[in-house]
Amino acid sequence: MIAVKNKYTEAFEKLKKSENSAEAQAFRRFQKMGIPDRKSEVYKYSNLKHFKNLTPSTDGSIPHKLPEYFTHKYLLDKHLLVTVNGVFAENLSSYEGDEDGIHISCMCDARKEFRDIVESHYNETSAGYPDAFSEMNTAFAQCGIFIYATKNAQAKKPIVMLHLGYNQHKDSLICQRNLIVLEQNSEVEIIEDYVNIDEEEAFNINHFSEYFIEQDARLKINIYQEDSNQVHFIGNKFFELGKGSNLKVTTLNFQGEFIRNNFRVNLNGEHGEATINGIFINRDKDHTDSRILIKHNAPHCESFQTFKGILDDQSTGVFNGKVFVAEGAQKTNAFQSNKNILLSEEATINTKPELEIYADDVKCSHGATCGQLDENAIFYAQTRGIPREKARKLIVFAFAQEVVQDIDNELFKNFMERRLVHNLDLADYSTYGSVQSGIKE
C-alpha cells in the first residue's frame, strides 16, 4: 500500500464536502486502501506508482470550440456527447436530450431531474467490491454523462462519447463518472473515444462507468483509444444485467502508455448474455492490462470473451479473465479465449484465464495462447509471391481483424479496419485500400 495522504487529501479538502456525504465516505475508504502496490494480486503486473502523486482535477474549464477534426470525425448520424477533462461539455455536444424515450444529460442535472433513478443506481455496482480507484472516483467525480433509456425505448442512432483531455497539468488526474440505465426492453448503442487534444501533455484518467441493463434490454458499446502518448488510464466499467438482457462490449486499444481496463459483469437474471471482446496493439514500452470478471449469478446465461494482444518492442500486456459461476447457475454457457502474438523477443504478456464454478451442469471453456508468428504460414504466403514482411503483416492483420469483424456497427467496423491498417503499417497495402468508411481520419 502506498500512502495517499498528500495531494489527494489536499485536493479533497478543497471540495468542502460534508463529513457524512457519499463523497467523504468514499474518500475515507479510498484513504484506507491507498493506491494498490505490486503485492496486490489484482495489480501484480501493473505498476501504479505513477498515480501516487497526482492531483485529482477539480477545474472544469472547457474550450469554446471543438477542434475541427473532432466535429467531423464521426460522420454517422449520432448523438455526440463530449466530455472535457471528465466534465460533460454541453456547448461542444450535439444531441437531442429527450428523444425516443432516451434521456441524456450531465450527471449534475440528472441528480435534480431524475433524482430517484440516480439515487437508486449511483454507486450501486461498487457495493461488495472494494476497489481503490472506484472509491477515489466517487470522492472526486466530475459531472459526467447520464443516459437513461425508459421502458421500450429504442435509440435510433448511436451515442458517440468523445472523452477529451485538454490542457491538463502533467500531475493532474481526471475522475470521470458516468451512469447509464436501460429500462426494460430498451436498446442503446454507444461508441466511446478517448483522445488527448494536447499530444504533448499528460492524460491521466480514472474513469468509472456504471451500467444497468434491465430485463430484455440491449446495450452495445464500442470503446476506442488510439495513440495517446503519455496516457495513464484506469477504466472501471461495471455492468448489472437483468433477465434476458444482452450486452456486447468491444474495446480497441491501439498504442497507449498505460491502459488498465476493468470490466465486471453481473448476470443476475435468467437468459442474460454478455460478450466482452478486445484487441490491443502495443509498441515501445506500452502497457495494456485487461481484467474481466463475469459472474453468472443466475441459470441459463451465456458469456463470451475474446481478447487478443499484439505486442512489439519492449511492450507488455496482461490478461486476467475470470468466469465465476455461482451455486445454482445451472446451464451456464461460458467461453473465454485470449490469444497473443509477440512480434519482438523483448515483449512480454502475462495471461491468466480463470474459472470458478459452483454449479454442476455448466459448459465452460477457456484457453490462452501466446506465440510468435507461424513461420509455416509466412513461408506459405511467400510461395505465392508475397514478400516476407508483407506476409507477416497480412497474418497479424488477420489475427486482429477477428475481433474487429465482430463489431455490429458497419461504419464503425470499417473505421476500425482502417485504423488497424494504419497501426500495423499496412497503409501501402492495396488489398485494404478500398474499404468504405463513414468516418473521417
Binding site: D374, N376, A377, F379, Y380, A381, Q382, T383, R384, G385, I386, P387, R388, K390, A391, L394, I395, F397, A398, F399, Q401, E402, Q405, Y429, S430, T431, S434
Partner: protein, 250 residues
C-alpha cells in the same frame, strides 16, 4: 527452364539431398516417385526456398537465374509454384484476399497497377469452375476448417490463379478420393501448355493415370537413381521399390 546440378542439402547436420540432378524443359511433366524419407518433399522445399536447409553444394538454375540467391517470394514471382502436401491454415485471411494480395504483389513488382476488382472477380470465377470450388470457400479463412480434399483443390485453384511457369505438386493426391483426384487432375491438364512445366511428387501410380507424365524419376536416398517414361511408374506400382534397392546394391 529448371536445371538442378549436384544438389546437396541438409537439415540439422543431416544430409537429405546427396547430389541430385534434374532438368525440366517447358511443356514437360516430370513425376518423382520413391519411398518415404528419400528427400522428395525436401527437394520441393529447396526449390521454393524454405530457409531451414543448408545447401552445401550444387546449383539450381531457373529462367537464367540462380534460384539459390533468391527469397521464396522472388522465386514465386519468377513463376515457381508449390502445391503443399499440407496446406497451411491462415485464420482471418480469406482465400479471395490472399489471392488478391499475391496477384497484386506480382503486378507491383512488374510496375503494373493493382488489378481491378471486377477483373479479379471474373478471373477468379473462371478458375473456381476449373477445380469445382464453391463460392463460399472464397470468403472463408484460408484452409481453415477445410477437409483434406478441399485444401488440395484450393491449392490447384491458387495455381490456376497464379499461372506459374513451373508448378511443383507435393503429394497432392494423398488423401484424395477418386472424384477429387479427377477434379485435381483435370485442373492440371487444362492448365498444361507448351510453355509451362510440372513436377509431380507422388507415391502412387494412380495419379499418373490422369496426369500422364513425360518422365518418371525414382528418388532414393537423396538422389534420382532411375529415370524412365510412364511405363516405369507402372512397373513400380507392380513391383514396389525393393527391386530398385536391389539394383542399386549390385
Amino acid at each position: 527452364m529448371l536445371k538442378i546440378e549436384n544438389l546437396k542439402a541438409s537439415i540439422d547436420n543431416k544430409e537429405i539431398l546427396k547430389g541430385l540432378n534434374l532438368e525440366v524443359k517447358p511443356g514437360e511433366i516430370h513425376a518423382i516417385m520413391g519411398p518415404n524419407g528419400t528427400g522428395k518433399s525436401t527437394l520441393a522445399n529447396v526449390i521454393t526456398g524454405r530457409d531451414v536447409y543448408d545447401i552445401s553444394s550444387g546449383s539450381i538454375q531457373f529462367a537464367n537465374e540462380d534460384l539459390l540467391e533468391l527469397d521464396p517470394d522472388e522465386r514465386a514471382r519468377l513463376g515457381i509454384f508449390l502445391a503443399f502436401q499440407y496446406p497451411v491454415e491462415i485464420p482471418g485471411v480469406t482465400t479471395t484476399n490472399f489471392m488478391k494480395a499475391a496477384i497484386n504483389e506480382r503486378r507491383r513488382h512488374q510496375g503494373e497497377e493493382p488489378m481491378k476488382a471486377s477483373e479479379f472477380l471474373k478471373i477468379m470465377k473462371g478458375k473456381m469452375k476449373l477445380v469445382d470450388i464453391d463460392q463460399k470457400f472464397m470468403s472463408r479463412s484460408l484452409n481453415e476448417g477445410f477437409s483434406g480434399g478441399e485444401k488440395k483443390r484450393n491449392e490447384i485453384f491458387q495455381m490456376a490463379m497464379l499461372e506459374p511457369k513451373l508448378a511443383i505438386l507435393d503429394e497432392t493426391d494423398s488423401g484424395l478420393d477418386i472424384d477429387a483426384l479427377k477434379i485435381v487432375s483435370n485442373g492440371v491438364n487444362q492448365l498444361r501448355n507448351k510453355d509451362n512445366a510440372f513436377i509431380i511428387i507422388t507415391h502412387y501410380q494412380r495419379l499418373l493415370d490422369y496426369i500422364v507424365p513425360d518422365f518418371v524419376h525414382v528418388m532414393y536416398d537423396g538422389r534420382i537413381v532411375k529415370s524412365g517414361d510412364k511405363e516405369l511408374a507402372k512397373e513400380l506400382e507392380a513391383k514396389g521399390y525393393d527391386w530398385i534397392k536391389e539394383e542399386l546394391a549390385v
